[in-house]
Amino acid sequence: MRTEELEKLSDEDLVRGLESGCDAAEFEERFRILVSRLQPKLVNAARRFTRTYDEAVEAASRVWEKFLAGFKRYDPDRCSVWTWLYAITRYDCFNANRKRAHECECAARFAARDERTDRRTALHAALGRYLERMPAHLRQPLVLHRLEGRSFEEVGAVLGISARQAEYRQAAALAWLRRFAPALREEIRFQTG
Protein backbone atom coordinates (compact mmCIF):
# COMPACT_ATOMS: atom_id res chain seq x y z
CA MET A 1 0.00 0.00 0.00
CA ARG A 2 1.11 3.51 -0.69
CA THR A 3 1.87 6.00 2.07
CA GLU A 4 -1.17 8.13 1.30
CA GLU A 5 -3.43 5.09 1.70
CA LEU A 6 -1.71 4.04 4.89
CA GLU A 7 -2.14 7.53 6.34
CA LYS A 8 -5.91 7.12 6.06
CA LEU A 9 -6.01 3.89 8.06
CA SER A 10 -6.92 3.84 11.75
CA ASP A 11 -4.29 2.92 14.35
CA GLU A 12 -5.89 -0.48 14.80
CA ASP A 13 -5.82 -1.20 11.06
CA LEU A 14 -2.16 -0.20 10.90
CA VAL A 15 -1.35 -2.73 13.58
CA ARG A 16 -3.51 -5.39 11.93
CA GLY A 17 -1.36 -4.91 8.81
CA LEU A 18 1.79 -5.40 10.85
CA GLU A 19 0.36 -8.63 12.23
CA SER A 20 -0.69 -9.93 8.83
CA GLY A 21 2.91 -10.06 7.60
CA CYS A 22 3.41 -7.15 5.18
CA ASP A 23 6.76 -6.62 3.44
CA ALA A 24 9.62 -4.84 5.20
CA ALA A 25 9.12 -1.48 3.50
CA GLU A 26 5.41 -1.38 4.34
CA PHE A 27 6.11 -2.60 7.85
CA GLU A 28 8.51 0.30 8.33
CA GLU A 29 6.06 2.79 6.89
CA ARG A 30 3.16 1.58 9.04
CA PHE A 31 5.34 1.78 12.14
CA ARG A 32 6.59 5.27 11.19
CA ILE A 33 3.01 6.51 10.83
CA LEU A 34 2.03 5.02 14.19
CA VAL A 35 4.99 6.67 15.88
CA SER A 36 4.34 10.06 14.29
CA ARG A 37 0.71 9.91 15.42
CA LEU A 38 1.14 8.59 18.92
CA GLN A 39 4.61 9.68 20.08
CA PRO A 40 3.49 13.14 21.42
CA LYS A 41 0.62 11.55 23.36
CA LEU A 42 2.92 8.83 24.60
CA VAL A 43 5.52 11.27 25.91
CA ASN A 44 2.79 13.31 27.60
CA ALA A 45 1.43 10.20 29.24
CA ALA A 46 4.90 9.11 30.35
CA ARG A 47 5.50 12.60 31.73
CA ARG A 48 2.86 11.90 34.38
CA PHE A 49 4.90 9.00 35.75
CA THR A 50 8.41 10.42 35.41
CA ARG A 51 10.35 13.28 36.96
CA THR A 52 11.76 14.94 33.85
CA TYR A 53 10.95 15.34 30.19
CA ASP A 54 14.07 13.37 29.21
CA GLU A 55 12.96 10.43 31.34
CA ALA A 56 9.57 10.57 29.63
CA VAL A 57 11.21 10.43 26.19
CA GLU A 58 13.33 7.49 27.32
CA ALA A 59 10.24 5.75 28.64
CA ALA A 60 8.44 6.31 25.29
CA SER A 61 11.39 4.71 23.49
CA ARG A 62 11.18 1.67 25.73
CA VAL A 63 7.43 1.46 25.11
CA TRP A 64 7.97 1.39 21.33
CA GLU A 65 10.56 -1.37 21.77
CA LYS A 66 8.03 -3.35 23.77
CA PHE A 67 5.43 -2.64 21.15
CA LEU A 68 7.66 -4.09 18.43
CA ALA A 69 8.44 -7.11 20.57
CA GLY A 70 4.81 -7.83 21.39
CA PHE A 71 2.46 -6.33 18.78
CA LYS A 72 1.40 -9.83 17.66
CA ARG A 73 -0.29 -10.27 21.02
CA TYR A 74 -2.33 -7.11 20.52
CA ASP A 75 -6.08 -7.80 20.06
CA PRO A 76 -7.89 -4.89 18.33
CA ASP A 77 -11.25 -6.24 19.51
CA ARG A 78 -10.31 -5.77 23.16
CA CYS A 79 -8.96 -2.22 23.20
CA SER A 80 -7.59 0.58 21.04
CA VAL A 81 -3.89 0.79 20.19
CA TRP A 82 -3.60 3.89 22.32
CA THR A 83 -5.13 2.17 25.37
CA TRP A 84 -2.72 -0.72 24.92
CA LEU A 85 0.28 1.62 24.62
CA TYR A 86 -0.87 3.60 27.65
CA ALA A 87 -1.04 0.44 29.74
CA ILE A 88 2.49 -0.51 28.64
CA THR A 89 3.69 3.02 29.49
CA ARG A 90 2.18 2.95 32.95
CA TYR A 91 3.73 -0.42 33.84
CA ASP A 92 7.07 0.49 32.28
CA CYS A 93 7.33 3.76 34.24
CA PHE A 94 6.22 2.05 37.43
CA ASN A 95 8.94 -0.58 37.04
CA ALA A 96 11.58 2.00 36.08
CA ASN A 97 10.74 4.14 39.12
CA ARG A 98 10.88 1.12 41.40
CA LYS A 99 14.23 0.10 39.95
CA ARG A 100 15.59 3.65 40.34
CA ALA A 101 14.41 3.82 43.97
CA HIS A 102 16.05 0.48 44.66
CA GLU A 103 19.31 1.67 43.09
CA CYS A 104 19.25 4.87 45.18
CA GLU A 105 18.60 2.85 48.32
CA CYS A 106 21.48 0.50 47.50
CA ALA A 107 23.81 3.42 46.76
CA ALA A 108 22.91 5.09 50.08
CA ARG A 109 23.44 1.80 51.90
CA PHE A 110 26.85 1.31 50.30
CA ALA A 111 27.84 4.90 51.09
CA ALA A 112 26.82 4.45 54.73
CA ARG A 113 28.72 1.19 54.90
CA ASP A 114 31.82 2.82 53.44
CA GLU A 115 31.58 5.64 55.97
CA ARG A 116 31.22 3.16 58.82
CA THR A 117 34.21 1.23 57.53
CA ASP A 118 36.27 4.42 57.33
CA ARG A 119 35.40 5.45 60.86
CA ARG A 120 36.02 1.96 62.19
CA THR A 121 39.37 1.87 60.48
CA ALA A 122 40.17 5.31 61.88
CA LEU A 123 39.37 4.29 65.43
CA HIS A 124 41.28 1.06 65.03
CA ALA A 125 44.24 3.00 63.71
CA ALA A 126 44.13 5.43 66.61
CA LEU A 127 42.56 4.09 69.80
CA GLY A 128 43.29 0.45 68.98
CA ARG A 129 46.97 1.19 68.49
CA TYR A 130 47.21 2.70 71.96
CA LEU A 131 45.22 -0.02 73.61
CA GLU A 132 47.29 -2.71 71.95
CA ARG A 133 50.43 -1.22 73.47
CA MET A 134 48.89 -0.88 76.90
CA PRO A 135 50.20 -3.54 79.28
CA ALA A 136 47.79 -6.50 79.11
CA HIS A 137 47.17 -6.61 82.84
CA LEU A 138 45.83 -3.03 82.63
CA ARG A 139 44.02 -3.35 79.31
CA GLN A 140 41.94 -6.36 80.31
CA PRO A 141 40.11 -4.73 83.23
CA LEU A 142 39.69 -1.49 81.28
CA VAL A 143 38.01 -3.22 78.35
CA LEU A 144 35.90 -5.58 80.43
CA HIS A 145 34.65 -2.81 82.71
CA ARG A 146 34.44 0.33 80.56
CA LEU A 147 33.66 -1.21 77.19
CA GLU A 148 31.78 -4.37 78.11
CA GLY A 149 30.13 -2.83 81.15
CA ARG A 150 31.00 -5.65 83.55
CA SER A 151 31.14 -5.04 87.27
CA PHE A 152 34.50 -5.25 89.05
CA GLU A 153 33.34 -8.49 90.68
CA GLU A 154 32.72 -10.01 87.23
CA VAL A 155 36.01 -8.64 85.89
CA GLY A 156 37.82 -10.13 88.85
CA ALA A 157 36.13 -13.49 88.31
CA VAL A 158 37.05 -13.51 84.60
CA LEU A 159 40.67 -12.59 85.23
CA GLY A 160 41.12 -14.59 88.40
CA ILE A 161 41.87 -11.58 90.60
CA SER A 162 39.98 -9.80 93.37
CA ALA A 163 37.36 -7.15 92.59
CA ARG A 164 39.52 -4.59 94.36
CA GLN A 165 42.53 -5.52 92.24
CA ALA A 166 40.38 -5.26 89.09
CA GLU A 167 39.27 -1.79 90.12
CA TYR A 168 42.82 -0.77 90.90
CA ARG A 169 44.07 -1.96 87.51
CA GLN A 170 41.25 -0.22 85.66
CA ALA A 171 42.18 3.06 87.35
CA ALA A 172 45.85 2.49 86.50
CA ALA A 173 44.86 1.81 82.87
CA LEU A 174 43.10 5.16 82.71
CA ALA A 175 46.12 6.84 84.25
CA TRP A 176 48.31 5.18 81.59
CA LEU A 177 45.94 6.19 78.80
CA ARG A 178 45.79 9.77 80.02
CA ARG A 179 49.40 10.28 79.01
CA PHE A 180 48.36 9.97 75.39
CA ALA A 181 44.90 11.50 75.56
CA PRO A 182 45.75 14.84 73.94
CA ALA A 183 47.65 13.26 71.03
CA LEU A 184 45.06 10.53 70.57
CA ARG A 185 42.18 12.99 70.67
CA GLU A 186 43.76 14.97 67.88
CA GLU A 187 44.49 11.82 65.91
CA ILE A 188 40.90 10.55 66.07
CA ARG A 189 39.46 13.98 65.21
CA PHE A 190 41.81 14.28 62.29
CA GLN A 191 40.95 10.89 60.88
CA THR A 192 37.21 10.91 61.43
CA GLY A 193 36.66 14.52 60.46
Binding site: P135, V143, L159
Partner: protein, 91 residues
Protein backbone atom coordinates in the same frame (compact mmCIF):
# COMPACT_ATOMS: atom_id res chain seq x y z
CA UNK B 1 52.43 8.70 69.28
CA UNK B 2 54.70 9.98 72.02
CA UNK B 3 58.24 8.99 72.85
CA UNK B 4 59.44 5.63 74.12
CA UNK B 5 59.51 6.80 77.70
CA UNK B 6 55.82 7.61 77.49
CA UNK B 7 55.05 3.99 76.57
CA UNK B 8 56.86 2.72 79.64
CA UNK B 9 55.29 1.50 82.85
CA UNK B 10 53.52 3.82 85.22
CA UNK B 11 55.51 5.34 88.04
CA UNK B 12 54.41 4.57 91.56
CA UNK B 13 53.10 8.09 91.98
CA UNK B 14 50.87 7.61 88.97
CA UNK B 15 49.26 4.34 89.99
CA UNK B 16 49.57 4.08 93.72
CA UNK B 17 45.91 4.48 94.59
CA UNK B 18 44.53 4.19 98.08
CA UNK B 19 41.17 2.62 98.82
CA UNK B 20 39.74 6.06 99.51
CA UNK B 21 40.92 7.38 96.16
CA UNK B 22 39.47 4.43 94.31
CA UNK B 23 36.16 4.77 96.11
CA UNK B 24 36.04 8.50 95.32
CA UNK B 25 36.80 7.83 91.67
CA UNK B 26 34.28 4.98 91.46
CA UNK B 27 31.35 7.38 91.79
CA UNK B 28 32.62 9.54 88.98
CA UNK B 29 33.71 6.63 86.78
CA UNK B 30 30.39 4.81 87.01
CA UNK B 31 28.38 7.95 86.31
CA UNK B 32 30.55 8.66 83.29
CA UNK B 33 30.14 5.07 82.13
CA UNK B 34 26.36 5.45 82.34
CA UNK B 35 26.64 8.47 80.04
CA UNK B 36 25.65 11.03 82.70
CA UNK B 37 28.68 13.22 81.93
CA UNK B 38 29.38 14.37 85.50
CA UNK B 39 31.25 17.61 86.13
CA UNK B 40 34.88 17.01 87.08
CA UNK B 41 35.25 20.20 89.08
CA UNK B 42 32.10 19.54 91.07
CA UNK B 43 33.30 16.04 91.84
CA UNK B 44 36.78 17.19 92.87
CA UNK B 45 35.24 19.85 95.11
CA UNK B 46 33.71 17.06 97.17
CA UNK B 47 37.15 15.51 97.71
CA UNK B 48 39.59 18.45 97.82
CA UNK B 49 42.28 16.47 99.62
CA UNK B 50 42.22 13.82 96.85
CA UNK B 51 41.96 16.19 93.91
CA UNK B 52 45.55 15.75 92.72
CA UNK B 53 45.08 12.02 92.32
CA UNK B 54 41.48 12.08 91.12
CA UNK B 55 41.78 14.71 88.43
CA UNK B 56 43.84 12.69 85.93
CA UNK B 57 41.58 9.67 86.41
CA UNK B 58 38.39 11.69 85.96
CA UNK B 59 39.77 13.42 82.88
CA UNK B 60 40.86 10.12 81.33
CA UNK B 61 37.52 8.42 82.07
CA UNK B 62 35.53 11.35 80.71
CA UNK B 63 37.57 11.49 77.53
CA UNK B 64 37.71 7.73 76.96
CA UNK B 65 33.99 7.18 77.55
CA UNK B 66 33.07 10.12 75.33
CA UNK B 67 35.21 8.84 72.46
CA UNK B 68 33.81 5.33 72.70
CA UNK B 69 30.23 6.60 73.07
CA UNK B 70 30.53 8.81 70.02
CA UNK B 71 32.02 6.02 67.99
CA UNK B 72 29.28 3.59 69.02
CA UNK B 73 26.68 6.11 67.89
CA UNK B 74 28.35 6.35 64.52
CA UNK B 75 28.92 2.63 64.18
CA UNK B 76 26.12 0.77 65.98
CA UNK B 77 27.26 -2.58 64.62
CA UNK B 78 30.77 -2.01 65.87
CA UNK B 79 32.35 -4.84 67.81
CA UNK B 80 34.84 -3.74 70.40
CA UNK B 81 36.91 -6.83 69.73
CA UNK B 82 37.86 -5.38 66.40
CA UNK B 83 40.06 -2.97 68.28
CA UNK B 84 42.25 -5.80 69.37
CA UNK B 85 41.83 -8.61 66.92
CA UNK B 86 41.50 -10.94 69.89
CA UNK B 87 39.73 -11.15 73.21
CA UNK B 88 41.48 -9.13 75.94
CA UNK B 89 41.19 -12.23 78.09
CA UNK B 90 43.88 -13.84 75.98
CA UNK B 91 46.10 -10.82 76.56
Amino acid sequence: MGNDRAWGPLSSSECDFTGEELAAFREFGEASLRGERPCIEAHLARYPHLAAKLRPLCEAAEWFDAEVREFRLRCPDFSIWELFGASPRTG
